[in-house]
Structures are given as structure tokens and as C-alpha cells.
Amino acid sequence: MAERRHRPGRVGVLGLQGDVSEHQKVLADLGAETVVVRRPGDLAALTALVLPGGESTTMSMLLESSGLDRELEKLVADGLPMLGTCAGMILLSAEALDGRPDQRCFGAIDLKVRRNGFGRQVRSFETELEVKGLDAPMHAVFIRAPVVEETGEGVEVLAEVDVPGRPGERRPVVCAAGPVIVSSFHPELEGDGRLHELLLKKVEGD
């Protein structure tokens, strides 16, 4: 692990459903204190928030029933640094296609995404990806992952993938805008904390 100069602070991981513990582990390895967020009271004094992989429609319903949806809207408006992977990317985007009509998107980053855009589970895949700003490629695991259909103003594309089985089709898979980073794949499943480290740098205002 490279020497760290930033102070990571208290990072929330949305813990309603999905691969919560993998994100906690990666954050703990970076020296962050982590808090599993299931109710509004868990959001006190967070310096950043991670939205994990899982089932975005389920998480959307549980966000509403717990009252976390209103708090999340406020945190997005306040510019809290956030990282979302897979389902987390869908929740942080502006619009989700092929979802449920009542599915919530919180618009933290101006993306239009399509759920399961790479296909069903038999098309889930792994590959190596170059990510802008990282010195070595990431091993990227895509599980029924969302595809980015449109990127809005101010969205920086940090990585792209050639869509398997669709020659010539290249899509953004890691995007950032202001305090928000999202990825279609799951770096946390491989214990790769480099996107989390970028998130912690945003806490520092780096």
C-alpha cells in the first residue's frame, strides 16, 4: 500500500442489501472508519458514502421505506463525496432504462444508464481495464452490469470497455463528476481499493 497523506474519516456504506462487507473491507484497508447505513441516524457526520453492488430495485424500495431516500437527496445536494458500483451506479445516475417505473435515481452524476445492459448472467464477464489516473490496469468483474447510454455535461470518463459480443461498441464504465465516482463493475470483489482511494482524496478536496 502506498503511503497515504489524507485522513479518510468516517465513510458510510449503504447496507440495505448487496456486497456491503467487501466495500467495508477495502475501506478499512485504506484506514477509513466505516459505518453501515441502514437508517437515517446512521448518516451523522459522514465524510463520504459508498453505494454497493446488489439489486437496484430492491435497494430503491428499502431506501424509501427507511426514509433514507430524503436524506440521500440532501447529501447529493450538499455535494458529499460518493462512490457507487453497479447497482450503486444506477442509484447515483440521473436516469435508469429497463428498470421499474418507480425505481429511484438520485441524479448525483449526469448519466443515463441501462440496467443489465451487457445481458443476463451468462454474459457476465471479467477483463483488464486501463483507468485514467491509475498506474496499472484494474481487474474488472462485471455482474449483470449496467451500461452507460449517455453522459451529460461535466462527466469525465475514466475508463471504457469494448462490449463483448458487440464489435465496435465501446462504453464508459468508470465516470466521475465533481465529488462523485461510479463504476459499472466491482473493484471491491477483487479487493482493489484504488477507486475508493480516489473517493477519499475527494474528501480531502484534492
Partner: protein, 302 residues
């Protein structure tokens, strides 16, 4: 079975253990619901299910009607796939690799090689490494779980006693698996060989458990769950997600009970939430004493 292709100079691999187990990892903290048609699948998705399991009859009806229980009609599975956006799983008979091949060609997201259906082979389970679709298998104890993992299962669930509305067998299986996982963590190197022998399981998997303290694949709970409190119980005992079969669609108000079990699974340690969602749910499915059963489904599989 994995396959490789090149995409823009980078190797792309599908069907790996990583992506198979990865989907199970994404379902953690969620509820997978048994459904027999598109209408039930829609109710399940509306209630917040993380996935649905397609089968021709729910276990309670298989118990009542008897006869040979088989894979669903592909048209029903396709109808369910068209009706919902969440993952769709389907059941194949134990050892019936041709049913599994059909389910793979339909692109179901997970195959349950299930004791709820009538076994097709009395000695062999399916070689699950030969498939790109991941498999979940039932287990009553750690040895069974490890044998299924060595055959390629990417998720293990307790068998419980399906179709009874009685959680006692699922609790027994879960406690047996989790208890042995704890014991192996403290075993020395010589004892680990004795564990492998006793469990009739590969030593490599026993060594892996000793190092990590957990199964190499996610451990879910199934079989006899009927209430939000049942879900909270098994999650606190170490299950990472729950399957609910007959418990939802054999109750008075399936939509409401389904939603309540989703909330109780997500907030399983928060008794005030489990209490709130348990209130006024109407009658649960009628339960059965295990001693009164003519057929014990959990005894199927080897």
C-alpha cells in the same frame, strides 16, 4: 465452463467462478421468492425480491399432489423472464444435466439443482463446472455443502424441509454448517485431515475454511420459512440471504407478507422494524410437524 474472447486486445472471460459467485454475493441481504407464473413473479418483484425462482408447483403443492416433480415448462420460465427485470432462477432435478442444459439455453441467471424436485440420478449430482450458468445446491451439513462446491456449486443454501412452513429443519442445517465452520477454524493441521475424512470433502476446501472461517461461496437459507421473524432468525444464525417458497403464496396476503419478509431480512437485527412489519399480516401458511411427513425432501441428495 469458461470461455475467452478478445475484445479490443484485452481478454474477456465469461462463466468463471468469480462471476458465478459474484452474482450470489450481490444477492446478499435479499429475499429470493418461489413463483410459478409471471403474475406471481411480478408480485415478488413489486415486493422487493432480489430474484425469483421459477418452478412448476410450489413445494407445498408438490407435497400435497405427489407424483414426479420436474423442471418447469420453458414457456413459463420465458414468461417470467419477460415479466420482471430482476434475476430469474429455475430448478432442475438432482443429476438431470439435460434439464440444466435446457435452463442454460434459456439463459436463466441461476440453476437450483434441487431436492424439491424428484431426483433423476441416485448417485451423481450434475457436474456444474461444465456450465456457464451458476448453480445453487442445498445442503443439510458442511460435508454435503463442500461436496456440492467441489462439483462447482457457486452458492449453498440450507435444504430445510420445503413446503412445511416449519423452520426447524433449516435452523438445524444452518447451525450444523455454521457450527462446523467455527470448529474447523480452530483445528490444527492434523485435525484438518480428520475433518476432511469425516466430512467426505476435499482437504483443499477444508484448508480454505480454516484460513477464512467461511464457506468459499455465499451461504443462504431455504426451506420452511414463513414469517418475517423466521427471516430475522436465520439471518442472525449466519445466513447471508433467504429463499422463501410456499411461505408467501400460500399465505393470506402474499404481496404484504413478501414485502414484510424483504424488510425483515434487510433489517434483521432491528427487532423494532421486524415487529412493525410483522403486525397484522393475516394468516401465515398452515405449517406441518416434521414427524408427520411422509416424504422428507432434505434426505434427497448425496
Amino acid at each position: 465452463m469458461t470461455s475467452n474472447e478478445n475484445s479490443g486486445g484485452r481478454e474477456v472471460v465469461t462463466g468463471t467462478s468469480r462471476v458465478k459467485r459474484g452474482l450470489a454475493e450481490m444477492l446478499r441481504g435479499g429475499v429470493i421468492m418461489d413463483v410459478v407464473d409471471a403474475e406471481q413473479a411480478k408480485i415478488a418483484e413489486d415486493a422487493g425480491a432480489v430474484a425469483v425462482m421459477a418452478l412448476e408447483r410450489v413445494p407445498a403443492d408438490i407435497r400435497r399432489d405427489g407424483g414426479v416433480a420436474r423442471m418447469s415448462d420453458p414457456a413459463l420460465i420465458q414468461g417470467i423472464q419477460a415479466a420482471v427485470t430482476i434475476p430469474v432462477m429455475a430448478k432442475a432435478r438432482i443429476g438431470h444435466f439435460a434439464e440444466a442444459q435446457i435452463l442454460e439455453s434459456l439463459e436463466v441467471d441461476y440453476i437450483d439443482e434441487s431436492e424439491v424436485l424428484t431426483p433423476a440420478d441416485e448417485a451423481h449430482h450434475i457436474d456444474k463446472w461444465a456450465f456457464k450458468v451458476p448453480f445453487v445446491c442445498g445442503a443439510t451439513n458442511l460435508g454435503e455443502a463442500l461436496r456440492r462446491i467441489s462439483e462447482g456449486a457457486a452458492m449453498i443454501r440450507s435444504k430445510g424441509e420445503a413446503g412445511t412452513g416449519n423452520v426447524v429443519e433449516a435452523v438445524r442445517h444452518l447451525r450444523s454448517i455454521v457450527g462446523d465452520l467455527r470448529k474447523i477454524q480452530t483445528a490444527d493441521s492434523a485435525e484438518r485431515y480428520a475433518w476432511a475424512k469425516q466430512l467426505q470433502a476435499p482437504i483443499g476446501l477444508v484448508e480454505e475454511i480454516a484460513a477464512t472461517g467461511k464457506l468459499p461461496v455465499p451461504l443462504f437459507c431455504a426451506g420452511g420459512l414463513a414469517t418475517p421473524a423466521d427471516a430475522s432468525l436465520v439471518m442472525q444464525l449466519g445466513a447471508e440471504a433467504v429463499f422463501v417458497g410456499s411461505g408467501i403464496f400460500k399465505s393470506d396476503d402474499p404481496a404484504r407478507r413478501a414485502r414484510a419478509i424483504v424488510e425483515a431480512t434487510a433489517h434483521y437485527r432491528d427487532a423494532s422494524i421486524v415487529a412493525k412489519v410483522s403486525t397484522g399480516l393475516g394468516a401465515a401458511m398452515e405449517g406441518k410437524e416434521i414427524s408427520s411427513l411422509e416424504v422428507k425432501l432434505a434426505e434427497r441428495g448425496w
